[in-house]
């Protein structure tokens, strides 16, 4: 998981409170169980104390403690712990045992304390001796008790631990499940084409993702508005160029019709060619603007045959000047598309073929259907496009090195964009008589 993982973040957020709850749960479960256990152990010590007390002998002036070694042995014997005792007279004088065993403070009957470097539990027992009571302290190291405490703690912690584990597992998978609507959303966005700037449908999205969808749609709106604005600008600019270009072309053609020195004529012819090239460039920019993703397209049912037939006149006029045999093999090829763009695509292909064919060459425009797909193509018998150049000629402004003529390098790039905007594919193949065959195959029709 790259970047900031939502899961890890959630787990980081959840772990401290879960740990705190566990600790609290352990404490809550621990004390109610440790209390009776402690009392039971204390009771055992009290019993020892009482047993010890029964060995106090009351004399005239003093108390004697008469404990047979065998009994002491029994009393002091414990599997885990060391047992200490201290017997005191009612007046508080030492009678027997470990004189330095600390007594519980005040009226307390039991306490935990340190003795001989170990923790001990000491209980105070009042044993009858004569008319009053002697104080017997019984101490015991805490090995047993700590064992018990640990066992009790573990017993109470184990279910808590299972609950915590279950929580983490639920979070881990729950996050994945919970994020499913988001991944569905991202799949939907991924599946879109680059030019698809339509808003995302928020109807199917869960409540929580609505703000995200809303924000995305807002962004898409802005992007498509900006794109429309740019296209409008490009189209306006191209349109605005046309009128002065028409004037320029009119005057150069007029001037060329006049007698003039050869040097002048050659230069004026250059001007004329540049004018025509600029006019063509304006048209190409217009086509590019229209073919851009998100452009306002004017889609209708069109027949490629009709489009080619409609332009045949202008193309033949161009071919006459170049002494090229421009022919047509037009069969019906109905497609859904933008007539302006399709005309521009075909015009670019024809223009390229005429531009790069040799004088006396042969160019054929074809439309029709093959394998259920409508297609348009232009074949020439010119120099062709080398295999390794075929990908590059589709780039904008790229021209094959050493190519004669005055192309802008936009023609094929425009054809490709127009193909893409129709979800169609462009191809470059070898021509049947040298040269190449360039065209578009449409997905339906």
């Amino acid at each position: 998981m790259a970047g900031r993982s939502l899961r890890a973040h959630l787990l980081r957020l959840l772990l401290p409170p879960i740990a705190a709850l566990l600790a609290l749960g352990a404490v809550v479960a621990y004390y109610p169980t440790i209390e009776p256990a402690t009392q039971a152990y204390d009771q055992a010590l009290v019993d020892i104390g009482l047993a010890l007390g029964s060995h106090i002998r009351v004399g005239q002036t003093e108390y004697r403690f008469d404990l047979p070694p065998a009994v002491e042995q029994v009393l002091r014997t414990d599997r885990f712990d060391s047992i200490y005792y201290r017997v005191m007279s009612p007046a508080g004088l030492e009678i027997a045992g470990d004189a330095d065993l600390p007594a519980p403070p005040g009226d307390a009957i039991a306490h935990n304390t340190m003795y001989k470097g170990e923790k001990v539990r000491v209980v105070s027992v009042q044993a009858p001796c004569g008319r009053s009571a002697c104080n017997v302290l019984v101490g015991e190291t805490m090995v047993k008790r700590e064992h018990l405490a640990r066992d009790l703690l573990l017993q109470s912690l184990f279910p808590d631990f299972l609950i915590a584990l279950a929580t983490l597992v639920i979070v881990w998978f729950g996050v994945k499940r919970g994020l499913q609507p988001l991944s569905r959303l991202s799949d939907e966005i991924k599946a879109r084409s680059a030019g698809d700037l339509r808003p995302i449908d928020a109807a199917g999205a869960p409540e929580e993702t609505r703000p995200l969808v809303g924000a995305l749609n807002g962004l898409l709106d802005e992007v498509s508005a900006a794109s429309r604005k740019q296209q409008r600008f490009l189209a306006d600019a191209a349109h605005q160029l046309r009128t002065p270009l028409a004037g320029l072309q009119a005057h150069t053609e007029l001037a060329l019709a006049q007698p003039m020195p050869e040097a002048c004529r050659a230069q004026l012819e250059q001007v004329h060619r540049a004018t025509i090239r600029t006019a063509r460039l304006a048209n190409q920019l217009l086509a590019l603007a229209r073919a851009e993703p998100g452009a306002r397209s004017v889609t209708s049912s069109v027949d490629l045959k009709g489009i080619a037939g409609g332009e045949a006149d202008a193309w033949v006029r161009q071919s006459l000047g170049r002494d090229i045999d421009l022919g047509f093999e037009l069969e019906p090829a109905p497609v859904e598309g933008d007539a302006f763009l399709l005309r521009e695509a075909l015009s670019n292909l024809v223009h390229n073929a005429l531009e790069y064919s040799n004088r006396g060459g042969r160019v054929t425009v074809r439309t029709g259907r093959a394998n259920g797909h409508a297609f348009l193509e232009v074949e020439d018998d010119g120099p062709g496009i080398a295999q390794e150049e075929r990908a590059r000629v589709l780039e904008r402004f790229y021209r094959v090195p050493g190519t004669p003529g005055t192309g802008s390098g936009l023609g094929l790039a425009i054809v490709r964009e127009i193909a893409a905007s129709h979800a169609a594919s462009m191809f470059i193949a070898d021509g049947s008589a040298g040269g190449c065959r360039v065209g578009i195959t449409f997905p339906h029709g």
Binding site: G247, E253, L330
Partner: protein, 226 residues
């Protein structure tokens, strides 16, 4: 012929004027739609070349008003619309309003002069029965053809094919449209039959330097007579 150019771009207007004057026409120029409407209501022009993108009154409005004048109703003046836009809407709108042809700027001058000639010829054909093309003359009423003043013998179908080509000099005419125009005589015509008629026409017309170009796979074009 008397022509009116309505174009607000001065260099283009003057270029068009000089080219059309060189073709032998009398040409008036105005940059304003209002003036064009006023001029057309006073005099009869044989052809109006009208720019769509005029300031104030645009070309469409001018066209609408031209078509509304009484003089226009008796004999409509052909209108060639020029536009810097190529939106399909513009074209449809222009043709709906009664434009006769439509050109997108910029254009080659031979293209413009060819269209002007074609429009003038067509409007003349409405008025008179004779169509001429260089040394060739067709009398559409008597259905007789003359070459250099001499009667030219043409079979009925040859005549029909020539009439179609002559109506669109310097334009490609598809075989299909020739068949449609000629097949009025009854039986089916194959594209091959059209080829036969065209080759017969060629052998009769080429001695007079009238050329019919074949556009491979498409049709024919009667070339400009030089």
């Amino acid at each position: 012929m008397r022509l009116l150019i309505v174009e607000d771009d001065a260099p283009l207007a003057s270029g068009l004027q000089r080219i059309l004057e060189a073709e032998g026409h009398a040409v008036d120029v105005t940059p304003r739609g209002e003036d064009a409407v006023a001029a057309a209501s006073q005099e009869k022009f044989d052809l109006v070349i009208l720019d769509v993108g005029l300031p104030q009154m645009d070309g469409f409005e001018v066209l609408r008003r031209l078509r509304g004048t009484a003089a226009d109703k008796t004999g409509p003046t052909p209108v060639l619309v020029l536009t810097a836009r190529d939106a399909v809407d513009d074209r449809v709108r222009g043709l709906d309003l009664g434009a006769d042809d439509y050109m997108v700027k910029p254009f080659a001058m031979p293209e413009l002069t060819a269209r002007v000639r074609a429009l003038l010829r067509r409007s003349q054909a409405h008025g008179g029965p004779r169509i001429t093309h260089g040394p060739l003359t067709l009398d559409t009423v008597a259905r007789r053809a003359f070459l250099r003043g001499e009667p030219l013998e043409l079979a009925a179908r040859e005549w029909a094919v020539l009439e179609v080509l002559l109506a669109k000099v310097e334009k490609i005419v598809s075989k299909e449209s020739i068949i449609q125009a000629v097949a009025g005589w009854g039986d089916d015509l194959s594209p091959n039959a059209i080829e036969v008629y065209v080759s017969r026409l060629r052998s009769k017309l080429e001695p007079a330097s009238i050329r019919i170009r074949t556009v491979r796979g498409f049709g024919y074009m009667l070339e400009e007579f030089k």
